[in-house]
Subunit: 349 residues, 2 copies
Amino acid sequence: MTISQTPRPRRPLTLRDVSEASGVSEMTVSRVLRQSGDVSEKTRARVLEAAKRLGYVPNKIAGGLASQRVNLVGVIIPSLSNLVFPEVLSGINEVLEDTPLQPVVGVSRYDPPHEEKVLFEMLSWRPSGVIIAGLEHSEATRAMLRAADIPVVEIMDLDGEPVDSVVGISHRRAGAEMARAIAVAGYRRIGFLGTKMPMDHRARKRFEGFTGALARAGIEVADHEFYSGGSGLAKGREMTRAILERSPDLDFLYYSNDMIAAGGLLYCLEKGIDIPGTLGLAGFNGIELLDGLPLRPATMDIRRREIGRKAAQIIADCVQKGVSGLGERIALVPRLDPGDTLRPRPHDT
Amino acid sequence: MTISQTPRPRRPLTLRDVSEASGVSEMTVSRVLRQSGDVSEKTRARVLEAAKRLGYVPNKIAGGLASQRVNLVGVIIPSLSNLVFPEVLSGINEVLEDTPLQPVVGVSRYDPPHEEKVLFEMLSWRPSGVIIAGLEHSEATRAMLRAADIPVVEIMDLDGEPVDSVVGISHRRAGAEMARAIAVAGYRRIGFLGTKMPMDHRARKRFEGFTGALARAGIEVADHEFYSGGSGLAKGREMTRAILERSPDLDFLYYSNDMIAAGGLLYCLEKGIDIPGTLGLAGFNGIELLDGLPLRPATMDIRRREIGRKAAQIIADCVQKGVSGLGERIALVPRLDPGDTLRPRPHDT
DNA sequence: ATGAAAGCGCTAACAT
DNA sequence: ATGTTAGCGCTTTCAT
């Protein structure tokens, strides 16, 4: 007796296979599978049954070519290990899940030539829109974005000239606001700890906004420490040790992100430094990690999830309206959280 | 005087446009752009110049349909916010960057029906291979993977029946090994803190391996605490508080991941508990975060980056050889790191 | 080294 | 409600 087996196809199944198996024309099968147009309930059922039985998976390559529409949204972010960007992606996902659109992620590594390459690859799939982090791109990248004739949303940052729409916060203002809060609280000998600048424009703008606002309060940054490489707790400890050994009289440390701030906090607590009495601290981003620390570092929430949601919404709107961009500018306001490490302190006078 | 401007095309550029602009046949243009076949240096230069000047971006949709080959590798992981998976992705990227293959990421959210949907979407793009986390999938998912007739690599876990190839560690053994180390060190009143099981098979297997090995040493898990929802430091603190209030006589806590272990550690240190004298701790994963904590919790490194690399290598090999799978099984051995929180202790006798 | 023709699997547009 | 035809932009194959 021969054993009957589900045949394992060498050639992937096509609409035609479903058409033959169900005795319905290819066109009607296509309509059923896309739930477009009028199809009788009976044929619909027969088609669905056949498609399921055969294990048919539609070919979007062919579909996209025929319809000249591809429901992909390219998302280009600098890094996945930053913790911030996965949250932006979640926001994007949340919105796109209620649409036929699907995000496709590319990672630019804070490297403009690589960003250019990633975008080129992405555009070769003819996505319906692009969401891209930052406003600083190579001229070629900007040219491609403009020429693609699709909605483009630049996210995270507001300080610059967008190609089309933009959703984010002003990092200059964020830096300035933190500076003001620190100055108002009475801190005077302030150290800055951050990433090496050329890589990260947003960190640079925060630094600029920070120093600018301090200057207006008659304060100069007393010392700074820049690093390269991954930012983990250990890096924050090390940098904090270095800057405090060099400048033991600092009374505040402003870190360019929460992770290194958390490392610095742990270091200071171990050294028995009185926080925030002797030394205040602040980070940036508002990541979840901060919730479990012995003290909650001051930080500024940049509303990552909301940035993702708004950006995705703009793309979805454009696609729905059939327009290739609508030059929106959505300014989100970061929320300063003083936590336990940024407190008004007695004056020195 | 009219101002000459680069015309902004409504219709995306095609090979034909480049062909006309360069006076070279479409076919030859195609050859140049794909760097395949013999083309004279002169024509090549002309084509490249025209393509660049026009800002031509090839249409991979059309190319994929014509060639029946799409250089995408689908990667399906449960979550992006887990810290573990971005590292696996890095490993995959590292290898694929030296090939024409490109990863496309889908997130299954530890949810089999959703995983099924994500895979279906992915397969509709006819990728050259699939890398998917875990061995537990719905029957439909397994059927799709088999029917796709492309290389499939299941990653992270070894304990089960793979569809094709598999790269990972045995979580049962990992749990068992940690149990043995704890027992040998002399701990006897052991608590387990982990995720709610049905969601996460690998955590479940570790738990099974752990309790099994303890049983062989004549020890039972004295108490356990399960949680749902995100795992951050705060969750680790809260769970630790709960279990220690209920069972103050525990002498060891085994956490299902490093993040909650770190939270637990911070909690214990604040409470002034002597670690590892009174209480030992261990987590799981070997994440970078641990490096900056006041004490380094014991953990087990699961070699995430290497898992990604090996998996990608298998796909790349299959694509290169033109085979649709080769049933490899790569068993990685996790590394137990006792850190500062798992130390031999004096016997109670 | 280059070109011409056919067709990949699907859908738009137009029948019926 | 269903079917027919043409063609999306590229590559394969076969000429030259």
